[in-house]
């Protein structure tokens, strides 16, 4: 098989395994939908001040939860599934075959990006049908660009993070410990007009806040520009840093034994 056909081959089986795994489907697919419903029920009907203009809370939460689900499909899914495969010896086993190692990673990243696109579609449809948040089709190129940069960057960060996770049991706690507080502090879960400016400044250090703002600007028409290159650049720099760390520290053999 050519390298590209091999990536497709790997991806096909990764997709099957992903959709059959109740943990991955539950966390990556159902959890964001549940959060959208919860936030919509609690805060629906009021407005949020975003940089001086007031918008419907639902209009705020649809792109926010899509942001979270893209990070979940990429960084969270990759960090957890690669640690599990590493500690099971599946990465080591794959290294013993003629398949180039990067194909394995490419298959997994492909799986994550496809899942992220599906989540965008699913949440956009739910947002449109139940929360009256219409999808701005003219913004589709901008939305897909921001998604692509974000998905690629958070994939790199997820792969890099595996180096800091010693065991399968530690994967979920470490990933959640990093991501959950940042979702709150970055305005993804709590509207930003409720957050003290000190917290916003703190969150500005990390990529989640920038990705959320870039995605929000692309998704919600009315802002000055569809693509905020500044925020996107910061996300990409984080991704590049993740890539370098992954190249340097990623390991294929189990930590245990």
């Amino acid at each position: 098989m050519s390298a590209l056909a091999l990536v497709g081959h790997q991806f096909r089986f990764d997709q099957k395994a992903f959709w059959r795994n109740p943990a991955s489907v539950g966390f990556t697919v159902f959890f964001p939908v549940l959060l959208l419903v919860i936030f919509g029920s609690i805060f629906g009907g009021s407005t949020v001040a975003v940089r001086g203009t007031h918008i419907e809370t639902d209009t705020y939460y649809v792109p926010a939860i899509i942001t979270m689900s893209i990070i979940s499909a990429t960084m969270q899914t990759l960090a957890m599934s690669l640690v599990i495969a590493r500690e099971d010896g599946r990465l080591k086993r794959g290294r013993g075959t003629p398949m180039p190692s990067w194909v394995f990673i490419a298959g997994r990243v492909g799986n994550s990006i496809v899942t992220a696109v599906l989540m965008l579609a699913l949440l956009a449809v739910i947002g449109g049908l139940f929360y009256g948040v219409s999808f701005a089709w003219e913004r589709l190129p901008a939305i897909l660009l921001v998604l692509a940069v974000g998905a690629a960057s958070f994939s790199c960060l997820g792969i890099a993070l595996t180096a800091a996770i010693p065991t399968q049991d530690a994967a979920a706690p470490i990933v959640n410990f990093l991501l959950l507080p940042l979702y709150f502090l970055s305005g993804v879960f709590i509207p930003e007009d409720q957050l003290p400016s000190g917290i916003i400044h703190f969150a500005d250090v990390f990529p989640i806040r920038h990705f959320f703002l870039a995605f929000f600007d692309a998704y919600v028409p009315g802002g000055a520009q569809a693509v905020d290159w500044g925020h996107l650049l910061i996300v990409a720099i984080w991704g590049l840093g993740g890539l370098l760390l992954a190249i340097r520290f990623f390991r294929w053999t189990p930590r245990s034994g």
């Binding site: 098989m1 091999l6 081959h9 790997q10 089986f13 099957k16 395994a17 059959r20 795994n21 495969a85 099971d88 010896g89 599946r90 080591k92 086993r93 794959g94 290294r95 013993g96 075959t97 003629p98 398949m99 180039p100 053999t253 034994g257």
Partner: protein, 290 residues
Amino acid sequence: MPEPAISICGLRMSYGETEAVRGIDLEVASGEIFAFLGPNGAGKTSTVEILEGYRKRTGGEVSVLGEDPATAGRAWRDRIGIVLQSNSLDPYLTVRESIELYAGYFSRPRSVEETIALVGLGEKADDRARKLSGGQQRRLDVGMALVGDPELLFLDEPTTGFDPSARRQFWDVIAGLRDLGKTVFLTTHYMDEAQRLADRVTIIAGGRIVAEGTPEDLGDRENAAATIRYRDAAGAEVSIETVDPVRELNRLTGEALARGEDLEGLEVTRPSLEDVYLSLTSTAERAGTE
């Protein structure tokens, strides 16, 4: 004589101050089932990981299928199959899918259905790996290594933790590989496994080779003292060690017949491979600690 599948000369492996492998030589002929035996920590896994290309050696010469595993590339890995010490399966893929996935990695794979039959999982082909028993998972693991149609197969402690019937089923699969002309490098710490499967056995202990030979003549068992056991007329256990069991038996049975007695529970045993193994490895361990 054809080129050996594996040849090792003066192999050494150190981890810091610890010497795991202290200069071993061995050769595995093409088409042979070779058992590499030793207790835990004897240097078995270090050696096999060097042969598989996972680990860089500290010293010595190693050739596997004519190449140095430390530098060999994809074309070389296309000719070997590896079964690691622990199962490495995707729990959510079926038997058939797992084997299809690995078939895609190799340039000239065997047929998927044929491979499933070869490891005796025909009836389980559509079951997910997580639903299989430990023995079935291990056979799937072997199937994933065999689907690439390798010339050389590494099996690292393949039956650890098996119940007796699962072990026997596994042995049948490996015995079947002999008919396919595959070379098999098997590491194990089960004597009966080596005895049952291997053409040749090498025992490693304390990083050195302490014995090698066929399972029959290992440790000069052929010429070792035999033990004759029976119960005498009073029912007492009698045990006689002799280097000449034929003459000794003749004397015992002659006398018993003359007295009109039976020799209840009569048996003649040679030291088992297990006995030889235990005496060889314990000697080496003592030497190692001195």
